[in-house]
Structures are given as C-alpha cells and as structure tokens.
C-alpha cells in the first residue's frame, strides 16, 4: 500500500489510528482436526513454573518483579528511572487503588511518615478503604459490560442490575478469591446449597447476572435466532473475560486464526443453550430474574398482604353497608322529609318503648332541596305536581317508594321515562326492545340515530355499551350499531365478517356528559362511515365497500346478541335507508320534536302516549328526582356525615388499621438478574451460524479443546455444564485464565498490559513483552489463593511501579520495557469523582441504586447522573444514552465487554472543562470553601493548588495566580468579584493537564 506513505498527514494518522487500512489477511485454513488440539501458540501452553532471574548489580528492592523487568531492561541497555517522590507516589497510589486523589492532609502525613514501612502502610490503608471496592469493581464492570438498561432495539430498564454491581464492589472490597469470583458468576446457582445460608445463595444468584446483563434484541421476531444470539453474546463475554479469546468468531466458521472450531463453539453453546436467561420469548421478550427474598420475608409479605386485603375488604363492606343503610333510612323516612319540606308538622319518630335510639330528625339540607322541587308551579311541572300530591296524601307518600320499586322489581318489562320529546325508553341494564329481521331494515346505505341519556359511563371491564344495532356482534357480517365507549360515542360497521373487517369510528375530542341528553348518529353512504355527536361531525373512516345485509333483529338497549346492556334512556331512535346529509343530521339534533318521515325503516320515538303511560312516566320522573343519580336522596359524594356515629367510628377504626398496616409494610419482594438451569441438551453445529441450517449430529457439550489437557471433561447429564465450565476455567491447569487476569491487573496499574491486547491472547493478539514475568505472576496469583489484593501489594511494592515518569526513550518508544512509569490520563470516573472530591461535594454513600425507574419499562431520559454527587460507579448506566460526562472521556461502551479504554484528546473534552455545569459548579464550590477560610489570599492559592494538584504552588505560580485574581476581580461588580475570580481560578486548575494526568 504505497499511499500509506504518500503524505505526512496520512503517516501521522497511521500513528494515531493504528490499524487503519490493514487488509484482512486470511491465511489458508489450516486443515484437519489436529489444528484444534493443544498447540504451540504460547497462550495455550501450560503456565510455567519460572524462577525470577538472579541479578548482579540490581535487585535492592528484593521484589521479584524488578528482577524480571531489570533483566529485560539491561538487555536493551535501559534501566529503571529513579524513584518517584513521595508526593507523586501517593497521588499515583491513591488514584490507582481508590480512583480518587489524596487529600492535602493525607499527602502531608505520608511525606512526614518516616517509618520504614510507610509506603506499605499507605497501600494497606488504601486497600482497606471503602473507595477501593468502588474503584476496582468498576475495573471489572467494563469487562462485564455492566449496564442498567438493555440497549439495542428495546432499551428496557433492568432495575435489579445494580445488585450485581454492588456484589462486584463487595467482592473486591472483601478480596473474594478470583476463582470463586469467577465460579459464582458463571455457575453460582449450581453450587451446593447444603447448610448454606439464604443470603449466600442469593448472592451467588446475583453473581450470575453477568450472563443476563448483555444487550439483547428483545423484539427480534425470529425467536430461535434471538436465543442463539444471546447464547453467542454469553460465549463472547465469558471467553473474552476469562480466557482472553474471541470464540464468537467460530459461530459461523472455524476460527480463522486460533485453534477454535465450530465444534468447540457449539460445545460451549450447548452449555448456555441449556441455561435459561430469558423469562419469556414474547413479542418483546423479557430477561430472566429470580426472587431473592428469604422464605421468612416472603411469609411476612404474604401475611401482610392478607391482612391488607382483609382490611380493605372489611372497609369496603362497612362503607357499602353504611351506604345501603343510609339510602334505606331515607327511603323509609321519605314521608317525614316530604312533610317537613311541605312545612307540615313532623311527628316525632316512634320509639320502641325507648329501647332503640330515636331516629335522627330529617336532615335540613335534604329538606331544603326537596322543598325547592315542591315550590315549582305544580300546574306546569309534572314533577312538582306529583310531589305536591304526595305531600298532601301522607299515606301514599309513605308507601310511594316501596310501591314504585316493587312494581319494577323482577321484571324485564319496558318502562317509559320522560324523553327529549315525550317519552323515552328507560333502559334498566337488563331490558331491551327489538324488531325482528326484515330485509328493508338492512339497506345498503343507512343512517342510525338516537337520543341518549345516562347517569354514569361504564368504567370497568368492557367499557362499551350498544345503543341501537342490528345483526349480532361487531364481528358479524352486516353488523351496524351505535355505541358509547366510556364517555365517547362510536359506530361499528362490519363488512365482510370477522375481526379484520370491523370498521369503527369513535368521537375524538368530544366527550359526552352524564345526566344530559345527547344526539348520536352515524351514516354510511357505501364509501364513508361518518359519526355525528349532537349534530356535529365527530369522525369518519374510509370503507369503500358495499355492505351486505345480515339476518338478525334490530335491537335497542343492548348488543343484538345479548352480550351487553345499556343503562339510561333512549329516545327518537331511527334507522333510515339513506345516508343523511350533515345538515339534516344537524336539524335532527336541534329540533328533536320535528317529525321525520322520508326513508325511515324503523323507529322508536315514544311520542304516542296513553294516559297510563303519562302517569307511569310521572312516577318515574318523581322517583328519579328523589332517588335517581342526580336526585335529592342520591348518595352524596361524601356520605360519611350522614352515618350514625357508631358506624362512623367503626369505619374510622378500620381506616386506622389500614394506616397502621401500611406504615409497617414489609419491603416488597426483591429480584435479581439471574439465570436458571434449563433442560440440558447438546446442540448440532449451525452451518454458517444459521439456526435454520443444522448439522446432523449434536456436539457433546464441552470446552475449548485446544486449551485443555488430559481427558475430555465429563459433563453432568442433569445440569447445563456451567459448573464444570467454571471449574475448568479456574483449574490450575487452565493455561489462560490466570494469565489473562494478572495481565489486566498489570494493565490497570501501568496503563498497558504485558500483553497489550488484554482481551485477545489468540494468535492475532499481542505477544507478551515479558513472558516469564507473566507466567510467574500467574503462578503467584494462584499460589496466593487468587488474591487480587496480594497482587496489588506485590506489584505496587516493586521499584518498577515506584519509579518516576519521564520522557519516552527513543530506544523504547512504546515504553514496553518500562524504563519509566507511564503517565496516564484520568479515567472518566476519576475525572468526575476527583472534581466532586476536591470541591468537597462528593457523596461517599456506599451501595444501593439510583435507578428509580420501573423494572422492564423503556429507559427514560437519565436525569439522575447530571444532578447526583454520588460516586460515578453508582450512576445509572443507560445503554446507548450513557451520561455524556463519561463518554467524552472514553468510558467503555457498556454494550460490548472491553477491558482497555483508549484515551483520546478531543476538543469536546475541552468544551466540557470550559462550559459544563459539573466543572463550573465544582469550581464555585471550591472557591466558596476557600473564601470561607480565615486566611489570606496567598495561603488560599496554596490550598487550592494542594487540593487540586496535590502540591503547593511555586513562587512564580502563586504570583501569577494572584495577578489573575486581581485582573478578573476588576471586571466584576464588587459583590460578585471575589467568588467570580476564585471560581475562575479553580476552574482553570481543573482544566490543567497536571490535574487530568497522573504521573
């Protein structure tokens, strides 16, 4: 590729963006199964027992690491840099172990500590700090691609993911041996449980959250593909995290470079396919979770639930009974009320020889309302006429309510009520009217209309009510009908039969009102279905198909097939054999009394009334005015003041019990992202990775053959095989895992690993710069019981770690031999945490979740991160919408597990330091703190430097800062000048390279 060197610019770009324009070199596929046997590639060979080199002139530190490093340095004519000063060393060690800068007091104490083991004490103190688990837990979370939401197509909240995060933090804080740390994440649910406390078992389940945490295409409609994609993601994360291998390549073809075949892949895939990580495979599928509340907690929860239900039921029943009794008492005492309203003497209520309490005197308010009805001119108003007659005939009044109800009871008969004009059909909720089928009732074009009044709209269950309709249900060929749906009007028309041929229109933005007459109409002209409410168009739908007639009756007051009944009044209901024009509909709605003749094929108008009808209607009207929904004696919204005192007290007692129960409610059941074992099954190779193209024979579940020695493992036929997988990973014979983990630990301290491709130890990965050291460290790691803290102690005690940073030597431009300590940019979390820490704003609370969103809901905007002052590890990680203060500083993409973040330098980072609220607010907070100190400005400048940069200023720096403050102050009004100038200075210190890099 000659153009590589065509211009200087391109050359430089190559240095920055290394692998750009590299052609994929595909070697000839190595033939035969022998390729997949243990091979000569270094990482597949057993970890050697290596003795540290014996050194001549060096080795004062006595640390074996230095023996390895200095030997290779000497071979390249290089040597270690001088030791870093104490100030540099404590800043380096504190960031390394806690992710935070040291305080000025800690720096001073360390400098003053003359004990020979002062440094060892420092390292031990830092590892014992709660900040240690937070820093190193985050180190693992990159590899585990930790997130609080699913990402991908359906970004659902995983509201219990944080338990895994807190488990990881605690594991590091407690120095949980790394082999156990591994086993619990892969197979924690399969470990023996005899005599193990619940809490420990739950923590092991939580650990397996690793396998559920990945991004999943939840709405993938090819569900078998979804499952295999998830298996693939699990294989990818597990093999990358613990083996440093990219096994995922072998899903479609034998690995192009590494000795990993599709057989190996499907042997592993069988293990994960035999593991359940999804709770369901619905349209949008749901990830798996397990309940981690103890049986005692669940029992308490259940008991509480029961008491609560009992209490709620008792309360509801008490209120119901009280209301029933109240209404009954009003009905019973109706005559007394009427007499009182009419101004007659009210006889004292009878008592049974004084043993039962006297009935309460009629309520004044009710009497007044009743009185108003009586005052209307009885000659023009039927209602007041009826009531006045009752008022002068106490006997009839006494039995009126009872008689009226009695005459209605148990009958489905048809009753009339006052209509919009004349009478109306009184639909009781179980009666209806019907006209038998006739062909002319089913015209090709039609209009339906009716007046409608109801006291309440349906709110529960099926919230539709049919008013006027013909031919079965809305799914029946030929069905047409007017309906209400809650407080909206609607029309159905079925053309062609079945659910798919239902046309409907519901009124948009027009709500019906209770207790008011509404005119509802719909027309169909063979093309458009139109709906009208109160004479105005309320929606339309294009149908464009001829309607076929049905063969069933026309019904008023219920769906024709008897499914559901309307309650209320219907009047002036008609079917016409033509589609009325909007103006005609409007006329019907404004002039209800005007006769309609042309085109009417069916009508219920209730205007041709007999004397009997009118009398009956008057009674309905009177009863309605008394006990109807809007009547004088309708149950008031707040009926409690009308209850007898004993009833009231009983209800209050129940309410008090309810409050007490709620106040002592146990915590809701807890869940954790976790897997469970499924039916164990071997998988055949999926040819070219397709689940639709399977090889004949299943591959027995197993591991990577090239990386194990001895006999193939025997996997339990009763379990998925994850436990055996974990045992194999953590076995001392496994050539990869210990190397991969110590390499990552090394990388975290030195910025680069001994192998600089930490997630790829395969053939295409980097070769170790110090293979003997890597093996020695790996053995040492296992020898010390997989203790991560022991590795910190070992590495940090070395002279290699404690040396200075200095300019890169031309003899080793990449500093692979470590002739100085590499300068490293602060990681994203360190930037934010350090800003909060030095400005005194960091909230050091440990653990718990900041995610207040509901589990499995779509991830809302993250409004927490920008306002929280908790440590960064506790902020919600929303996949695909990660908080930008983190992504700007190269936070690892939480959808792909990766253990190496590539630091960039871009102007957006500079904008962040110039303009972000986090930086500005921190600067102001630090400025206020400094200004509040009782000291002079020189000393404040010193304090600012010590807090932000961990060192005092040089004289010239101090003078320059002083001058800066003065010049800024002069540009502000006196009241703001001090804070503004000091904030500006602190912000500038934050922006300094010295703050953002650690030496």
């Amino acid at each position: 590729m000659p153009y590589r060197f065509s211009t200087l610019a391109l050359l430089l770009s190559l240095l920055v963006v290394t692998p750009w324009l590299r052609l994929v070199a595909v070697p000839a596929s190595p033939g035969g199964e022998a390729f997949f046997a243990p091979t000569g590639h270094w990482s597949f060979q057993a970890i050697r027992e290596v003795a540290p080199p014996t050194l001549g002139r060096v080795g004062q530190s006595g640390n074996p690491i230095d023996a390895f490093i200095e030997t290779s340095l000497a071979a390249h004519d290089l040597h270690l840099a001088p030791p870093a000063d104490r100030r540099t060393l404590i800043r380096r060690a504190t960031f390394d172990l806690t992710g935070l800068p040291p305080t000025p007091e800690e720096v001073a104490a360390f400098i003053a500590d003359t004990r020979p083991d002062a440094y060892r004490r420092l390292v031990d103190r830092l590892m014992a700090s709660p900040r240690y688990g937070e820093r190193w837990g985050r180190w693992w979370l990159d590899v585990a691609r930790y997130a609080d939401t699913n990402g991908q197509d359906e970004n659902k909240v995983m509201a219990n993911a944080w338990r895994y995060r807190d488990w990881v933090i605690k594991a590091f804080a407690d120095d949980l041996p790394f082999d156990q740390f591994t086993t619990q994440q892969i197979a924690g649910d399969l470990l023996p449980t005899n005599g193990v406390p619940d809490e420990v078992i739950f923590n092991r389940w939580i650990a397996t959250g690793l396998l559920v945490m990945g991004p999943k295409m939840l709405a993938e409609q090819d569900k078998p593909k979804l499952v295999m994609d998830m298996v693939d993601e699990q294989i990818d994360v597990v093999t990358r995290a613990f083996l440093g291998l990219t096994v995922g390549c072998a899903r479609c073809h034998d690995h192009k470079f590494d000795p990993i075949s599709t057989r190996d892949y499907y042997a592993l895939a069988g293990i994960f396919k035999s593991t359940r990580a999804m709770a369901n495979l619905d349209f949008v599928s749901k990830f798996n979770e397990r309940c981690i509340s103890s049986p005692q907690e669940l029992a308490a929860l259940e008991a509480h639930e029961k008491s609560l239900v009992a209490n709620t039921n008792a309360l509801a029943a008490a209120i119901q009974n009280a209301n029933t009794a109240l209404t009954a008492s009003w009905k019973r005492d109706f005559a007394s009320y009427l007499a009182a309203a009419a101004g007659a003497e009210v006889p004292a209520p009878a008592t049974d020889q004084g043993t039962t309490p006297a009935r309460p005197a009629p309520d004044k308010g009710l009497v007044e309302r009743l009185g108003k009805l009586l005052m209307v001119d009885a000659t023009t108003n039927t209602l007041s006429g009826t009531l006045n007659i009752l008022a002068v005939s106490p006997d009839r009044a006494a039995t009126f309510v009872h008689d009226f109800e009695d005459s209605r009871r148990g009958t489905n008969g048809v009753h009339l009520a006052p209509g919009i004009v004349g009478g109306a059909f009184l639909a009781s909720g179980n009666n209806y009217l019907e006209i038998a089928h006739r062909p002319d009732l089913d015209p090709p074009q039609l209009t339906m209309e009716t007046w409608m009044l109801t006291d309440e709209f349906p709110n529960d269950g099926d919230t539709r009510r049919w008013l006027l309709n013909k031919n079965g249900s809305e799914w029946t060929e030929g069905h047409f009908g007017l309906v209400i749906h809650r407080d909206r009007a609607g029309v159905y028309l079925n053309i062609g039969g079945g659910k798919d041929n239902v046309f409907s229109v519901f009124s948009e933005g027009y709500n019906l009102k209770a207790g008011r007459w509404h005119h509802i109409a719909a027309t169909y002209d063979g093309a458009m279905l139109r709906l009208y409410c109160d004479g105005r168009p309320a929606g339309e739908a294009t149908v464009n198909r001829p309607r076929k007639p049905g063969a069933q009756s026309l019904a008023l007051g219920r769906r024709q097939d008897g499914y559901i009944y309307f309650k209320g009044r219907l009047d002036e209901a008609r079917v016409l054999d033509r589609a009325l024009a909007p103006a005609e509909i409007a006329a019907h709605a404004t002039q209800p009394g005007r006769p309609v003749e042309a085109g009417v094929v069916a009508r219920w108008e209730f205007n041709d009334l007999t004397t009997e009808d009118r009398k009956a209607m008057a009674e309905v009207e009177a009863y309605d005015a008394l006990f109807g929904a809007a009547g004088v004696f309708a149950l008031p919204k707040e009926p409690r003041p009308y209850y007898p005192p004993t009833t009231r007290e009983a209800i209050e007692q129940l309410e008090h019990e309810h409050d007490t129960l709620m106040a002592h409610a146990p915590a809701p059941a807890s869940f954790a992202l976790s897997v469970t074992d499924d039916q164990p099954a071997d998988l055949p190779v999926h040819i070219r990775g397709s689940h639709l193209n399977l090889a004949k024979d299943p591959v027995p579940r197993g591991f990577i053959r090239a990386a194990y020695r001895g006999e193939p493992p025997l996997l339990s036929a009763k379990q998925s095989g994850r436990l055996e997988l974990a045992r194999w990973l953590t076995s001392p014979d496994n050539p990869l895992m210990a190397r991969v983990i110590v390499n990552r630990l090394w990388q975290a301290h030195f910025g680069e690993g001994l192998v600089r491709t930490p997630d790829n130890f395969g053939v295409r990965g980097d070769l170790p710069s110090h293979p003997e050291l890597l093996d020695w460290l790996a053995r040492e790691f296992m020898r010390t019981g997989w203790s991560v803290k022991a590795m910190h102690r070992l590495i940090m005690a070395s002279a290699t770690y404690r040396q200075q940073t200095r300019e890169t030597s031309p003899a080793d431009p990449e500093n692979r031999y470590l002739s100085h300590f590499p300068r490293q940019r602060l990681e994203a979390e360190m930037v934010r945490d350090a800003l909060l820490e030095v400005s005194g704003r960091l909230d050091e609370k440990v653990g718990g979740t900041l995610v207040s969103w509901k589990n499995d809901e779509y991830a809302p905007e993250d409004k927490v991160s920008a306002s929280s002052t908790r440590r960064t590890i506790y902020l919600p990680i929303v996949r695909d919408r990660v908080y930008d203060a983190l992504t700007i500083f190269d936070f690892a993409n939480p959808s792909v597990g990766m253990s190496r973040r590539v630091p960039t330098v871009v102007s957006h980072q500079a904008l962040f330091f110039l303009n972000s609220p986090l930086v500005k607010d921190s600067a102001t907070a630090l400025a206020r703190t400094l200004l509040a100190r009782d000291t002079d400005d020189r000393d404040r400048i010193r304090q600012a430097y010590e807090r932000v940069l961990c060192r005092p200023p040089e004289n010239d720096e101090s003078a320059r800062a002083y001058q800066f403050l003065a010049s800024v102050e002069s540009t502000f009004p006196p009241t703001e000048a001090r804070t503004a100038a000091w904030s500006a200075l602190c912000q500038t210190l934050f922006a300094a390279n010295e703050f953002l890099y650690r030496d």
Binding site: A9, M898, V906, L911, L914, N915
Partner: protein
C-alpha cells in the same frame, strides 16, 4: 496510541511558531479528526443522509407497480416471508397516482411532486433489502451493518476513514436523531475511537432549540474565558517543560484552542439568519407544515458546505400500520419541499457534484394491506435514492417483482449500499478496517458489493 507519535511538533506548538497552514499538520498528530486523503480518487467528499424514520412505503413513493393497481384486492400469488412482523391481507394499490417526471420519465407518486421535479438528478435504488422486520433491528442494520452486534455507525466509519475537513466542527453530525430503536447505537462509534461518534444536535427538542452539548459558556463571558485560557496555557506549558515531550499533553493544549474556536463557528453555522428570504422559501421555512424539516435540511447544507463529512437529518414517523393515506400524505407534504429545496440549493451553489445526498428509511412497507388502510414493515425490498456526488442522475437501478414484494434483479443489500457509499468517497470498503478483539472489523463485515453500475 498517542504516545506513538513522532517527536517535534509539540515543541513547535510550545514555542507558538505554528502558522495556520501547518497547524493542520500538527493537528494530525494530536487529532484523529484531521483530514486524511482517500485511498483513490473520490467522486464525493461528503454525505447528507435524509433518514425517513419508520419506513416510508416504496410502492407509494418511488416504486411504481401497475400490476399492484390491476390486482389490488387479490391475494398475493406467492408465499410471504417466514418471519413477519404482523399479518397482512391482500394486495393493495397505492392511494396516490404516479406520473412521469423529467427527461428520464421516472414514475414518482403524487406524494413527492417537487422531488419528482428533480428526477433527473436522482439515482433510484429500487431493490434495497435488509434482514430485520422490526424497527430497532432495521435501524441498526442500516446505520451500522449489524442487527445482532454493537458496531460502529457508517458515519463513524467515514469519519475514521477520512477525518474532518473542518477542525472547528465535528466530523459526523446527526440532527434531530431518534432516541429509540437503537438510539445512540445508530450514531455510535462502538469500538472505534470515541471521537468518531456522531455529535447529536437536538433529538427530543424542537429543531430550532437544538444545539451541541457544552458548546455555550453559560456565563457568556468571552474575555474571562480568554484570560482563563491564557493562564491555562502558561500552566500547561510549564508542566510540559517539566514533563518532557509528550504528544498527549501537547494535543490537549491545542484542544482548548480548538474548543474556543468551535464555540464561535458552530453557533454561527446553526444560525440561519444570514440566509436570504428566497433560500428560506426554497426550503419551505415560510410554511409551518414544512418549516421544521426545512430547518434540518438547511442546517445539513450549512454543515456540509463547511466540511462536515457525514450529516444525517431524521424525519418521522413513517410507520403507517393504519391511516396510510392520511399520514403518509401529511409526512410527504412535510418533506417534499425541503428535500427538493436542498437538492436545488446544493446544485445552484455547485455543491451537489461533491455532496452525495441519500434518502430512505429503515425498510419499506408491504404491498399487501394491513388492517383497513395500512401497510406493515417490509425489509425484503424497498427504495432508497442517491443524488449528486458522482452517481448517475435520472437513473434507476434494481428491480422488484411485479408487486414490489421481493427483489427480482440487481439486488442491493444494505452491505452493498455501504460498500457503494464508501467507494463514492474514495474508500475501498474491504480496506477500511479496525482491529478490535483480535479481528479486523469492517463496516461491511465480510459482505458488500460496490454497485459501480450507478457511478456517473
């Protein structure tokens, strides 16, 4: 990575001796966004992607199917795909008339009369096909080439490949992006260096309020900021002198000056006040129906003419499972004039030759009916079009079957589209790679055919 840089430039910068000409060279060392020459002679320098989120129906826009009109209401005479998003019924003709446009006589529906008038500049690709029938998967497939794994977006790949022509603006900008259906995944750099991530402008806020995060100094105090930067520069240079040569430290010193300049240039670019009334009318800024997308298209031109490599503007929501006639009609009215305005404006400024405009959604819609007036998702064959940037105008490539259901000939998979876009920019899609997890990844994975038949 940064520490691999050669020595020297930092010291120059330190001494403040750089002219603006060789500053660009210094930026290369510091800045992975510095412009890089393509691998071979490019036909286009940059891309504007007009993304129609939701999936506009190809058989109602650019893929004219007389047989669909003839057989409307009849069942599809061959098998539907194995996996379907939802059930559809019989064939359904378009509610819109199609008519011929331009010299080429391309048949375009009445949804796009003004775009139709630009037909002689359009290169219709009528046999695009993807694999995923759900929005999220299809968006990710179209933007990243993968509906299975997290991969860099095409804009990120292009930024990585070519850098930026303007150091004061991001190289990849997405205006009003959709936050769902993959969200950032659609403009993410994934494992590429984060600098290649698309910079979102807006999304969830009205377009006229959209801006770049942290761009504005909340105190609006330029002299103070300048004083801070001067002090900072002194501190950093002093620190550098003690540390010795370090490209990262040097790059960071320069990055603050870049940021300071970006604060001026980016808002200036987003301010449309300087545009003439005629231009505003051309895009449709004067009509409330078209104003929102007009603003996006005009922003796209302004970013593009200042050298931003990849500008995406998003419009939606073209997902008519129901009410196709009403809502596709409304959506078409919202974009027709702004798109035609953009094409005409680019042309009259002489920018269309070097700017590739691409139009399309994540999939098309079924030629069969869903519900009473809807069409379902359809990734099996749909239309996108290109204009300018070295493609044939007045051209049509790719054929679907007589109903527009499956691709029949000259098929163009999403991978092929990506390969073609890169080729137009002068990049061999097989050679634009990034090493991640032991593999050299490509935008086109192991697929991709350059559709050179459409090259002018």
């Amino acid at each position: 990575m940064l520490r691999q840089c050669g020595a020297g430039f930092g010291n120059l910068a330190l001494l403040g001796l750089l002219s603006s000409v060789n500053r660009a060279v210094a930026d290369t060392a510091a800045n992975p966004l510095a412009a890089r020459p393509p691998q071979f002679l490019p036909r286009a320098k940059r891309i504007i992607f007009l993304f129609m989120h939701g999936g506009p129906s190809h058989v109602d826009t650019f893929d004219y199917k007389p047989a669909l009109i003839r057989d409307s209401g009849k069942p599809l005479p061959f098998a539907k795909p194995r996996v379907q998003f939802a059930k559809t019924s019989n064939l359904r003709k378009s509610p819109w008339e199609f008519r011929p446009y331009g010299q080429c006589g391309a048949m375009i529906s009445d949804l796009f009369p003004l775009v139709g008038a630009c037909a002689d500049d359009l290169c219709l690709l009528k046999s695009i096909h993807g694999t995923n029938e759900a929005h999220g998967g299809a968006l990710l497939k179209l933007h990243t080439g993968s509906d299975t794994f997290v991969r860099p977006s095409m804009g990120s790949w292009i930024s990585y490949g070519l850098g930026s022509e303007n150091q004061n603006l991001p190289s990849f900008i997405t205006v009003n992006p959709t936050m769902g259906h993959g969200g950032v995944g659609n403009w993410s750099s994934a494992f590429l260096p984060a600098v290649h991530q698309g910079t979102p402008i807006g999304g969830g806020v009205p377009v006229e309020q959209a801006t770049i995060n942290y761009l504005h100094d909340p105190n609006e105090n330029v002299p103070l900021q300048r004083a801070q930067l001067d002090l900072l520069g002194e501190m950093n240079r002093q620190h550098l002198a003690k540390s010795g040569h370090d490209p990262a430290l040097e790059a960071r010193i320069e990055s603050f000056e870049l940021a300071f300049r970006m604060q001026t240039e980016a808002p200036e670019t987003m301010n449309l006040a300087g545009e003439t009334e005629a231009t505003k009318r051309l895009y449709g800024l004067d009509d409330p129906k078209t104003a929102s997308f007009a603003r996006q298209c005009l922003l796209a031109r302004r970013f593009s003419e200042r050298g931003v490599r990849f500008v995406q503007v998003t419009h939606g929501y073209w997902d008519q499972h129901e009410d196709l006639t009403k809502d596709h009609g409304r959506l078409g009215r919202e974009v027709d004039r702004p798109i035609a305005g953009l094409l005409r404006d680019l042309k009259s400024r002489g920018l269309l030759d070097e700017t590739l405009v691409m139009w399309g959604g994540e999939f098309g819609r079924t030629p069969t009916l869903q519900g009473t007036d809807g069409r379902d998702h359809h990734p099996h064959a749909f239309t996108m079009w290109l204009a300018g940037g070295g493609v044939k105008g007045g051209h049509s490539y790719g054929v679907t079957d007589e109903y527009g259901f499956y691709c029949a000939d000259e098929k163009v998979h999403v991978h092929d589209l990506h390969a073609t876009l890169l080729a137009l920019l002068g990049i061999n899609h097989e050679a634009l790679t990034y090493r991640y997890a032991g593999r050299d990844f490509r935008l086109t994975d192991v697929e991709g055919r350059v559709v050179s038949e459409i090259f002018a």
